[in-house]
C-alpha cells in the first residue's frame, strides 16, 4: 500500500489508496466477528499503525495547499479512516475485551431476562 507526504500526493494516487482501503475494510469486516485474541495479536499492532497513519495523512492533506483539488478523495479518505477506526475498535472492544468483562456479561444476562420474560 502506497503512502506519501501530502505535498507529493496526486489525486489519482489518493484515489488508488482509497480503493485499496475500501478493499481492506471489506476483507476484515467480512470476518471481523470470528477474529480471536490470538489473531489480533498477529495483525493488531500493524492495523492500529495503519489507522493512525491514515489519520495523520488525512490531517496533513487537509492542511496542504492542494486541499481544494483533492476535496472528493480527501472526503473518502476521512470516511475510510472512520470505518477502519471503528472496525479496529469493535475488534478490541467486543472480540477481545468483552469476553473478559464480567460486569458487561452480568448486565447482558439481566437484559436477557427482561427481553425473554
Amino acid at each position: 500500500m502506497e503512502l506519501a507526504t501530502p505535498g507529493g500526493y496526486s489525486v489519482s494516487q489518493l484515489s488508488r489508496l482509497n480503493r485499496e482501503l475500501d478493499d481492506l475494510y471489506e476483507l476484515i469486516y467480512a470476518d471481523w466477528n470470528t477474529i480471536t485474541e490470538q489473531d489480533y495479536a498477529v495483525f493488531g499492532g500493524q492495523f492500529q499503525l495503519l489507522v493512525n497513519t491514515i489519520k495523520q495523512l488525512y490531517d496533513d492533506c487537509r492542511r496542504s495547499d492542494a486541499h481544494c483539488q483533492m476535496k472528493g478523495e480527501l472526503e473518502r479518505l476521512g470516511m475510510n479512516y472512520s470505518a477502519l477506526y471503528e472496525l479496529n475498535s469493535d475488534i478490541v472492544n467486543f472480540r477481545i475485551k468483552a469476553p473478559h468483562n464480567a460486569e458487561l456479561q452480568s448486565m447482558m444476562s439481566k437484559a436477557s431476562k427482561v427481553l425473554n420474560r
Binding site: 475494510y25 469486516y29 467480512a30 471481523w32 466477528n33 470516511m79 472512520s82 470505518a83 477506526y85 471503528e86 475498535s89 469493535d90 472492544n93 467486543f94 475485551k97 468483552a98 468483562n101 460486569e103 458487561l104 456479561q105 448486565m107 447482558m108 444476562s109 439481566k110 437484559a111 436477557s112 431476562k113 427482561v114 427481553l115 425473554n116
Partner: protein, 135 residues
C-alpha cells in the same frame, strides 16, 4: 408478529437526529423502518454485526445506509439493538451517525454496558415503548 420496543435514550437520540438543522439526518427513521420491514426474526438475529451474545439474547450494532445523503452502510448510521433468541422481540437502544456534525466513531464497551443497564431499568419499570415500523 415481531415486537419492536425502545428505551428513552434511543427515542431521544432519534429525535435529536430528526430535529437537526437543515434536515441533515431526517432520513434516520426511514432507514430503520426499511431495515426491518418485511424481515423475518431469523434474519434479524443472524447478522454479522453481532457484538455480544449471551443467555438467549444477542446485541447487534447494525450498519444502516443513509440514502438521503448517498452514504453506504459503511458510512451511514449505527443502530444498537437487542434481539431475543426465544421470543419475537427486539429492543432498540441507540442510534448515531457515522458522518456529519453529530458523528460518532464507535461505541465503547462501557457505553454498551450503560445502554443495557438503561434497558433493564426501564424494562423493570414498564417504561419501554412500542416502535411501529409499519408506518
Amino acid at each position: 408478529m415481531i415486537c419492536f420496543e425502545t428505551i428513552t435514550h434511543f427515542r431521544e437520540r432519534l429525535q435529536a437526529l430528526m430535529d437537526y438543522k437543515r434536515s441533515v439526518y431526517s432520513g434516520a427513521e426511514t432507514e430503520i423502518k426499511s431495515a426491518f420491514k418485511g424481515v423475518s426474526i431469523e434474519q434479524i438475529r443472524q447478522n454479522r454485526d453481532m457484538i455480544l451474545m449471551q443467555d438467549d439474547s444477542i446485541a447487534i450494532k447494525l450498519r444502516l445506509p443513509d440514502h438521503r445523503q448517498r452514504l453506504s452502510k459503511k458510512d451511514g448510521y449505527r443502530l444498537i439493538y437487542l434481539v431475543s433468541m426465544i421470543e419475537e422481540r427486539v429492543a432498540f437502544l441507540d442510534i448515531y451517525p457515522k458522518r456529519g456534525p453529530l458523528q460518532q466513531l464507535d461505541i465503547p464497551d462501557e457505553e454498551l454496558l450503560r445502554l443495557l443497564s438503561l434497558y433493564v431499568q426501564e424494562g423493570n419499570n414498564d417504561q419501554l415503548q412500542f416502535f411501529d415500523i409499519s408506518t
